[in-house]
């Protein structure tokens, strides 16, 4: 029983991380119909910039949590600027191109960011100092770390905040309008360019948060940490319903739990024929299964109809 609870906790943590990253993907997709392959790299840069800040601030005698917050702040600012620039330089000129052109551009941006990060921070893995409170607590016989609790809370708060923003605020209304029909929104006085830029900026800030939390959770930051994470997060967004904020979180958490439970129990379920090495396969099969029955994802999609 405690193993099961532990696996659930593992899954929830992993899932919350996916959810945080998926939110960024889903926002951009909702408004632009673009798979921003570079999003994972922004997460990575957030982690590495924060790490650099931590190292700089380590000399000061500030309390660790404060260092963590300042580091996150700096990382968030860098990422927001980065997200804004990427949108401005790489995606905006291709606003009306068929979707393959921005996709290839996104791949290009992802490659460039990875290589630049490698040139700047080197190829080796970097240890991340434990700044966040990391006491372990017992719950139903399983262990949960305070960092893990923070991650889950962060995902929940981000989701709530975003939903509030999108559903209840004027900015949110403008975002929904632009997502639904940019031309008519423009007629209503909404500056589509500004809204899109803002979407990227918010998404990038979330990416920075995800980056800091991921590196805190695993204690490692590395120039290649973003790609796979981004891919999984995008899978999660699709699972939940692309463009749908609640869907991104649901998809993320679900994917995390599926992976954890899959790794934990596939072996037992299949009598040892398939083991934890098939955990990714398992996750993808679930995705395909869901999409066959609900082609728009679990919670349905919210994308502009590109007639």
């Amino acid at each position: 029983m405690e193993t099961f609870v532990q696996q659930l906790i593992n899954g929830l943590t992993l899932g919350s991380i996916y959810a945080l990253v998926a939110l960024g993907y889903t926002m951009v997709y909702g408004i632009l119909g673009l798979i921003n392959f570079a999003h994972g790299e922004v997460v990575m840069i957030g982690a590495l910039v924060a790490l650099a800040a931590f190292k700089l601030l380590a000399a000061t005698m500030l309390p660790p949590v404060l260092i963590a917050l300042i580091g996150f702040g700096i990382a968030a600012m860098v990422c927001m600027a980065l997200g804004w620039s990427i949108e401005r330089i790489a995606y905006r000129p291709l606003r009306n191109a068929p979707r393959l052109a921005p996709l290839i551009t996104a791949i290009g941006v992802s490659l460039v960011l990875q290589q630049l990060a490698m040139l700047f921070w080197g190829r080796s893995y970097h240890a991340v100092p434990a700044l966040l409170p990391s006491e372990a607590h017992e719950i139903l016989g399983a262990r949960i770390n305070e960092v893990q609790i923070i991650i889950m809370l962060a995902a929940g708060m981000a989701m709530t905040g975003l939903i509030f923003l999108v559903q209840r605020s004027k900015l949110g209304r403008a975002m929904r309008a632009t997502a639904e029909n940019p031309q008519v929104a423009a007629l209503m006085g909404v500056d589509a360019n500004k809204i899109v830029a803002l979407t990227f900026v918010i998404g990038s800030a979330l990416a920075a948060l995800a980056g800091v939390l991921v590196s805190a959770n695993y204690g490692i930051a590395h120039y290649q940490m973003g790609f796979l994470l981004g891919l999984k997060a995008f899978t999660a967004a699709v699972l939940g319903g692309i463009g749908n904020i609640g869907g991104a979180v649901l998809g993320g958490v679900l994917l995390g739990i599926i992976e954890a439970l899959g790794a934990g129990y596939i072996g037992d379920l299949t009598g040892g024929v398939f083991g934890s090495n098939y955990q990714d396969v398992f996750a993808f099969f679930v995705l395909i299964g869901v999409l066959v029955f609900r082609p728009s994802g679990l919670m349905g999609e919210k994308v502009s109809e590109r007639a």
């Binding site: 193993t3 532990q6 696996q7 593992n10 899954g11 943590t13 992993l14 992802s110 490659l111 990875q114 190829r123 080796s124 893995y125 970097h126 240890a127 372990a136 262990r143 770390n145 695993y218 204690g219 490692i220 590395h222 290649q224 940490m225 790609f227 796979l228 891919l231 992976e259 954890a260 439970l261 899959g262 790794a263 934990g264 072996g267 083991g275 934890s276 090495n277 955990q279 990714d280």
Partner: protein, 418 residues
């Protein structure tokens, strides 16, 4: 007409190229015994000279170059002619595809012998090319057992292979570490899986019980799920077949989950980076490395001095083995009396050479006989030597502070989900 001129120019170009076919200048062997031309031996050397393992690849090349220089300075006579070695160094980028291209190049350039490649992943496919061309290949570093299992007469290595390493690890776990129950994790790469399988065999044969077997891949950072599964089986020891970028988070997560088992790894985790990244979680874990630390080698201290004098850099990993590989070839040439590939091939199996690293002799598959493996424990932020199995008996345990990075038989492409 345009097409006509085009056809004419094409044929002209073709004719020109045909006429200017360049051949490597053959050494003019004069008849008179006095002014005999030197016997030039072309030695190909392949290793990653660019990319993440460039520093290790370059180090291997330096070792070979050192041997070449020593031999050339020694004015060795073979069949009345002075032996002159030429090292042709190529970059295979640790990429199997690039490795076969480099192998092709060597065959085209008609090298007499190849030292290399560095990674198992490149050595194996390249060995096919060399076997087809009859060019002997001596690897100073490839540890994958498959290399010598295909029956290629041309495949040799002067380094312990993973089978030997896994066996030593398994016996060590069941023996010295007295582990009764063992869990095995591997990263499903050629290296990780290979060494894990050998470890399992040896540990089971030595009386331990393997209670859990888990797999991951070489890109994962989250091991919570499989560690949770393993925790339920309460093993005394967990063996990880994989590299240090994952060994570090693995050990940290073990600690977080409250798993008390010892962690044992192969040479993939036996690096300074592991200790740096795992921090407190590294303390008390064990690992192994093929061969012996340089200082403990029979010719070690002298080699370190020579290397430092010439290159003014610390030895990374394989330089002494590359040195010995070249020397073994030279010995074969001396015995054969000539430097043809076929002659070298015939003499290599009869090698009995006291090298820098150890006494070298090959078994019938091309592996080195009586290979050595050294075991380490992480203490106080460094790897400390615990024991050496096989090879020449080494001096008792002393702090081995050298930050020797591990050899990664990993592909070179970057954002691939491999």
């Amino acid at each position: 007409m345009k097409t006509q001129t085009l056809v004419l120019s094409l044929s002209a170009a073709l004719a020109l190229l045909a006429c200017s076919k360049s051949e490597p200048p053959a050494p003019a062997a004069a008849g008179a015994p006095v002014a005999q031309a030197p016997l030039i031996v072309k030695i190909g050397h392949a290793a990653p000279l660019t990319g993440p393992q460039a520093h290790i690849g370059k180090d291997t090349e330096y070792g070979a170059q050192l041997a070449v220089d020593d031999v050339n300075a020694a004015n060795i006579q073979v069949g009345g002619r002075t032996l002159q070695l030429q090292l042709i160094g190529e970059d295979d980028q640790a990429d199997p595809k690039q490795g076969t291209i480099v192998a092709q190049k060597f065959v085209d350039d008609k090298v007499n012998v190849v030292i290399g490649h560095m990674n198992s992943g490149t050595t194996l496919p390249a060995s096919v090319t060399y076997a087809n061309a009859g060019i002997p290949q001596v690897s100073a570093s490839a540890t994958n057992p498959e290399y010598t299992k295909h029956g290629y007469k041309t495949a040799f290595r002067v380094m312990t292979n993973d089978e030997a390493q896994g066996k030593v690890l398994g016996e060590f776990a069941a023996g010295k570490l007295a582990a009764k129950t063992i869990a095995v994790i591997d990263d499903k790469t050629q290296y990780g899986e290979g060494i894990a399988i050998e470890f399992k065999k040896a540990a089971s044969a030595s009386g331990a019980k393997v209670v859990a077997e888990e797999h991951t891949d070489d890109k994962a950072v989250d091991f919570a799920a499989i560690l949770t599964k393993i925790k339920a089986t309460k093993p005394d020891l967990i063996f990880f077949g994989g590299m240090d970028p994952q060994a570090a988070p693995l050990s940290m997560q073990m600690k977080k989950l409250g798993i008390k088992s010892i962690l044992l790894m192969g040479d993939g985790g036996c690096t300074a980076d592991f200790i740096k990244n795992a921090g407190a979680a590294a303390e008390g874990q064990y690992c192994s490395k093929p061969g012996v630390p340089v200082e403990k080698m029979p010719g070690g201290p002298a080699f370190i001095a020579k290397y430092k004098a010439k290159y003014n850099a610390p030895i990374q990993l394989y330089a002494p083995y590359a040195y010995d590989a070249v020397m073994v070839v030279v010995e074969a040439i001396k015995r054969a009396g000539n430097a043809d590939s076929a002659a070298i091939l015939a003499e290599l199996p009869k090698t009995a050479y006291k090298g820098v690293t150890t006494d070298i002799a090959f078994d019938e598959k091309g592996d080195i006989k009586d290979a050595a493996v050294t075991l380490y424990i992480a203490k106080g932020g460094q790897w400390e030597q615990v024991d050496t199995i096989g090879g020449k008996p080494a001096a008792p345990a002393a702090a081995s502070a050298e930050p020797i990075p591990a050899a990664t038989p990993s592909p070179a492409a970057i954002p691939a989900a491999k």
